[in-house]
Symmetry: C2
Subunit: 228 residues, 2 copies
Amino acid sequence: MIEAVGLSKSYDTGPSRVDALCGVSFRIERGEYVAIMGPSGSGKSTLMNLIGLLDSPTAGTYRLDGQSVEDFSDDRLAELRCRRIGFVFQSFHLLPRFSAAKNVELPLAYMGLPRGERRARAVAALASVELGARVDHRPNELSGGERQRVAIARSLVNRPDLLLADEPTGNLDSRSGEEICRLFGRLNRELGVTVVLVTHDRGVAEHTRRILHIRDGALVRDEPLGAP
Amino acid sequence: MIEAVGLSKSYDTGPSRVDALCGVSFRIERGEYVAIMGPSGSGKSTLMNLIGLLDSPTAGTYRLDGQSVEDFSDDRLAELRCRRIGFVFQSFHLLPRFSAAKNVELPLAYMGLPRGERRARAVAALASVELGARVDHRPNELSGGERQRVAIARSLVNRPDLLLADEPTGNLDSRSGEEICRLFGRLNRELGVTVVLVTHDRGVAEHTRRILHIRDGALVRDEPLGAP
Ligand SMILES: Nc1ncnc2c1ncn2[C@@H]1O[C@H](COP(=O)(O)OP(=O)(O)OP(=O)(O)O)[C@@H](O)[C@H]1O
Ligand SMILES: Nc1ncnc2c1ncn2[C@@H]1O[C@H](COP(=O)(O)OP(=O)(O)OP(=O)(O)O)[C@@H](O)[C@H]1O
Ligand SMILES: [Mg+2]
Ligand SMILES: [Mg+2]
């Protein structure tokens, strides 16, 4: 499903250049459940943005279902981002003037669903992350962990077949974090969703079946995990 | 130093009211090193905002050094927030148009220090959280963990005697998180800084000497930790 060959990404910041990713290569097949771990600043979010088509590499190729993303039209890219990929951002990116339900509904706006159906799906997604009692709260009326869970619910509402989650439990207590791990595990096992998540928590990573270790922009180790 | 008696905080959101804190009472003496733990949404950030004078209780009293905060003038409140208290926000609150160094310098603007001294202190604070190589990056040019560390550096730059940190390691890998724990531990032991931190990580809490457990807005357990 995902094939990265020599992926590199550099940023030009004022006088200096930051080489955030240097020649990363790997494959992720449909239905896999993968964790990405590594130190702060090692390039994990940069890699997730490339996988999620939110940014383009400075060098190297990235193929989604065998087709190189450089060959995709803007329309195709937009459609992939809306319909096939669900993304949980490390900093949530919720719209401050909208309620939790409206924020979760957002990805559905492009799918031509009637209003009642969009609201129903948003409320169901919020219930799946235990926020049924907060559907009408705005982000500044929510705790940090609640905002994180709204971001998770939003990533699920369009029923993606590829879920990318950048540190989805960083602001959650261990019990809520476990709930989210179980939710992702069910989506993977029961619905065949391909899940790639970045985490700093080894306990979270051990719910997956494979860990890609990143350090200083390079893939330093590909660790398969035994059956749990 | 800190005395809370029956602290309560409610929010009115549309038709409903959320009782975020219900009658919380405790004392924290000068030089203590305390952790606050509890489920997502249990009231920890709400409590931290009250302790840090960023919000006022709906009911109950809060005394800082024996004086009730209701009796403080606006000037006194502003001075306490700027000079005595350092606050690491759960969502960082960095100014997007300013570099890391300028963000860290901000609390010093009120202290009448010359420009060169402010810059020197900001750079030193960033070095103490291993961001010496990122001083001129803006927040959107930093990783999640780097932004968190900028927020930590900013909380230290005015040399507060009370440091309040709301989930300071949520976006950090275990090694960077340990570095931050060691830094806080040194500030506490060597400089006598009173440290109160919210964390979801039991490992981080075990660096402190006392854990206050919050659940559904109430203090349910006060746990002293043996000498490490
Ligand atoms: N401005 C507000 N209006 C309404 N409800 C609010 C507001 N701010 C917070 N809340 C609610 O108050 C409760 C406590 O929030 P708080 O931010 O203190 O939780 P927390 O313990 O810090 O959680 P987390 O671990 O997720 O950060 C939450 O259920 C939240 O939904
Ligand atoms: N727009 C940018 N301009 C310049 N440098 C950048 C930019 N975005 C990220 N960086 C740098 O690239 C490196 C990798 O960033 P990235 O966000 O991928 O790290 P990360 O592994 O996700 O870290 P964390 O665990 O802290 O979230 C960091 O050192 C960061 O400072
Ligand atoms: Mg990141
Ligand atoms: Mg909080």
